[in-house]
Amino acid sequence: MTQPIKFYQTGTFTVGNRLLPEDLRTVQSSEARDNSLNSGHRACQGCGEALGARYVVDAAMRATGGQLIAANATGCLEVFSTPYPETSWQLPWLHSLFGNAAAVGSGIAAALKVKAQKAGQAQSTIRVIAQGGDGGTTDIGFGCLSGMFERNDDVLYICYDNEGYMNTGVQRSSATPPAARTATTQPLGPEPGAEFGKGKNVPLIAVAHEIPYVATATVADLHDLEAKVEKAMSMHGARYLQVFVPCPLGWGAASCDTIRLARLARETGLFPVFEAENGEITAVTKIRRPVPVDDYLRLQKRFAHLFGPKGHPETIARIQAMADKNIKRFGLMAEEGAA
């Protein structure tokens, strides 16, 4: 999804654009944005998840006129945002458990539906999001997520994908990429880091549920992210958004590189950004400046064992092959015209 207006200097890609009419600017550029996740939270410096969550929730707040309730899974996002006695959330927010955010969301939606009916409305004006980390989504919360999808409950579920169990000290999840070092996939043995051939692609699994809307996004492309949230909130039923949120701590990356890494993940093809409606992929974000996976991997200590004198060029080649496969499969290259 790209913006219809091409604005040279301020470009399509910056947060704000003083040259655009107010209503076409991003939510984040506004002084009146909600800051749904407020200052004072305890996320690490440069936390992509904190950033992604504010992006998403602020956009959803705008899309719903502030009529929004959030359910949150256990994980960094929950822990850093609500340690007693301080919360950073500015919207009604409920944390229940690690693996049940989707179901809690379903419950909220069900309650709202009944309340609306009692008030004589066809539909509730209050909308629901549920959110969690990749562990809380692709692993422990997967059953509840699938159930929420299958019932087509009126919930937008957002997975903040930082490719591992960060809150418990960086262990492998089913979203951890091959070769990545985590506390449970050590850089040891013949195949150091996470093994190839494992893990699952939840966005595609979500597509297979044929729910109204599935999308992926990154914290590096705010316009795209906000447009997707807005679109999701314009629909009803089960919707899924997976946002790629680099974790400086878990990935061993510089805190200032969070957005750069998200950008590179997309530009390498390692994280395909796409949209699907009712089981069909409807749009992909093309790669703008193709880069080899090296450029992305090198910035992260979790891949450090692939480089240096005792490096693993053949492993890097395998990762490149994964990227190439994505590029082909999703038609990510501009020439490949699969849009």
Binding site: K6, F7, Y8, Q9, T10, G11, T12, F13, T14, V15, G16, N17, R18, L19, R25, T26, Q28, S29, E31, N35, L37, N38, S39, G40, H41, R42, A43, Q45, G46, C47, G48, A50, L51, R54, S81, T82, Y84, P85, E86, T87, S88, W89, Q90, L91, L222, P248, A254, S255, C256, D257, T258, I259, R260, R263, R289
Partner: protein, 544 residues
């Protein structure tokens, strides 16, 4: 009604503000203004990025006012400036340099069209400065001196202002109505002009008008000659005289076959003028190769398009009647041309020498302390002052590259230092800001936008008339072009820092007011700095 919330489990919004995460910080972001490389390379010291900022927003009047703080001639600049700024433009490393010069011309033309005027001086200083020569350098000095509030008298030997802009640069590159209009605006500021008066003794003239200081900008007008053994019958002219006569009643008689000797822009202008005057053949004879030619390649290119021919690696060794003897040259290891002893002949109706000009320093004789060296008057590079206190000089007569923009820059520098000198002060040397180099930028954020080309006159008319060759941008294309600017090193309020901070630690102060870091919450992650497209944020270590 407020809820009676369960203890500890249920919390009120906003409560995290009590947690001042700024304490975690080891580095803090600081907003800086770096020097855009374009500005650094503008000989007139224009704040290009600054005026483009206004132009991007479509506020051309503000852009123009911002521009003329440094240079009163945007319409002229937009036609004759060699725009070294564009060569330094960071955008050149992305796709193509911003068409700074074409936007400048658009602004200049727009100002003429709209009749925008300079701001009148805020006060009168009561001081009087004499400017000798109404070329670009003298005019620039007069303009800046007047805006500061000094009385200014310009004495010019010629009958009209402009110097080489009128007597050198041909009309097809700089229409005279443009020149006249931009000079008239300076006159309207209250500068006194006196034409047809040649200063013969500078100290006498100063005394005569009662000047407290003077700025000399008489240019370089004496044509250099080469020794060419020639019989009387040979029709040999010099380029400056030819071009100057273009301003007179009768155009010079050059004939159907014209040879121009030299490799500078002047040679090219003469050859192109000859084509327009009806020469079927205009041949430039130059000692070296195209790569080594001092003329700008775009000018050569335009000349070639118009049918001008060039004999490379050739010198003229003799002229007799209508026949020139040409010797072939080769370049030695150091790139210097060496004779080969191979000769050929070339028939021609006239030979125009375009070998450069010398300064006529007669008016300076007897001025104590004054140093003339390398054919130019020596000045303090920081102030333009000559060895004689109160006497300043610049433009072609002083050391430096000889072009309009450098001359204008000299005039500005001289004006500001004359002002200081008149107040008995010395301007503190400017601490140069660090240049916003390309690697300080995050160019990802700028979308792809190739440069807009200016329209050009069709070839037929370019060889038959003196109509302006280069067209201007339309409003739409100028806006587009302005918006291609990356705003190197200077905040353009893209809101990135405000948006990308995971801790909401950037405060947006509102349009035009930029941003502030909320140090209570800034954790010092550095994302704002690395995602600032234009490199306007720097991370500095916290002490302790």
């Amino acid at each position: 009604m407020t809820m009676k919330k369960p203890f500890a489990i249920t919390l009120d919004p906003g409560s995290s503000l009590a947690n001042k995460t700024g304490a975690w910080r080891t580095e803090r972001p600081v907003y800086v203004d770096r020097l855009p490389p374009c500005n650094a390379e503008c000989p007139a010291g224009e704040d290009i990025q600054g005026w483009l900022y206004h132009a991007e927003g479509g506020d051309y009047q503000a852009a123009w006012h911002h521009l003329v703080r440094e240079n009163p001639f945007p319409a002229i600049m937009g036609r004759v400036c060699y725009h070294t700024c564009e060569g330094a433009c960071n955008r050149g490393q992305l796709d193509a340099a911003v068409g700074i010069n074409s936007v400048e011309r658009f602004l200049g033309d727009e100002a003429l069209k709209q009749g925008w005027q300079f701001d009148a001086p805020e006060l009168e200083t009561g001081k009087h400065v004499l400017v000798v020569g109404a070329g670009p350098s003298g005019l620039s000095a007069a303009y800046h001196l007047r805006r500061i509030g000094h009385r200014v008298t310009v004495i010019e030997a010629g009958e009209a202002p402009g110097g080489m802009m009128r007597f050198g640069i041909p009309k097809y590159r700089l229409p005279r109505d443009v020149l006249d209009a931009e000079v008239a605006r300076i006159a309207a500021l209250g500068v006194t002009f006196s034409y047809g008066e040649k200063v013969a003794d500078i100290r006498a003239s100063m005394a005569e008008v009662g000047a407290d200081a003077a700025y000399l900008a008489i240019g370089a007008h004496i044509a250099k000659r080469a020794f060419i053994p020639a019989k009387d019958s040979a029709h040999i002219l010099d380029a400056v005289a030819v071009l100057r006569s273009m301003e007179g009643e009768a155009p010079p008689m050059l004939g159907r076959r014209v040879v121009v000797y030299g490799g500078g822009n002047t040679a090219i202008d003469v050859a192109r003028t000859a084509r327009r005057l009806g020469a079927t053949e205009a041949i430039i004879v130059y000692r070296r190769t195209r790569e080594r030619m001092p003329a700008h390649d775009f000018e050569l290119e335009e000349a070639l398009e118009e049918g001008v021919k060039v004999k490379w690696l050739s010198t003229i060794t003799g002229a007799e009647g209508g026949t020139l003897t040409i010797e072939k040259m080769v370049l030695d290891g150091e790139g210097r041309p060496q004779p080969t002893g191979e000769f050929e002949t070339l028939d021609t109706d006239s030979l125009v020498l375009a070998l450069g000009q010398d300064v006529d320093m007669s008016l300076l004789s007897g001025v104590p302390g004054l140093v003339a060296e390398d054919g130019v008057v020596q000045v303090d590079a920081a102030t333009q002052m000559t060895g004689y206190p109160g006497l300043f000089a610049g433009g072609d007569m002083a050391p430096g590259t000889r072009n309009v923009t450098v001359a204008i820059g000299h005039g500005k520098r001289a004006a500001r230092n004359i002002d200081a000198w008149l107040r008995g002060e010395v301007l503190a040397p400017k601490v140069p800001k660090p240049v916003a180099a390309f690697d300080a930028l995050n160019p990802w954020y700028y979308s792809d936008a190739p440069k807009t080309l200016r329209p050009q006159l069709d070839i037929a008319r370019r060889t038959s008339s003196f109509d302006e060759v280069q067209g201007g941008l339309t409003e739409a294309t100028a806006l587009f072009e302005a918006r291609r600017c990356l705003s190197c090193g200077n905040c353009f309020e893209c809101d990135n820092c405000y948006g990308v901070c995971p801790d909401n630690a950037v405060i947006k102060l509102g349009p035009g007011l930029r941003f502030e870091i909320n140090l209570d919450y800034c954790k010092g992650c550095g994302i704002c700095a690395s995602e600032c497209p234009c490199g306007a944020i720097e991370m500095v270590l916290e002490e302790g």
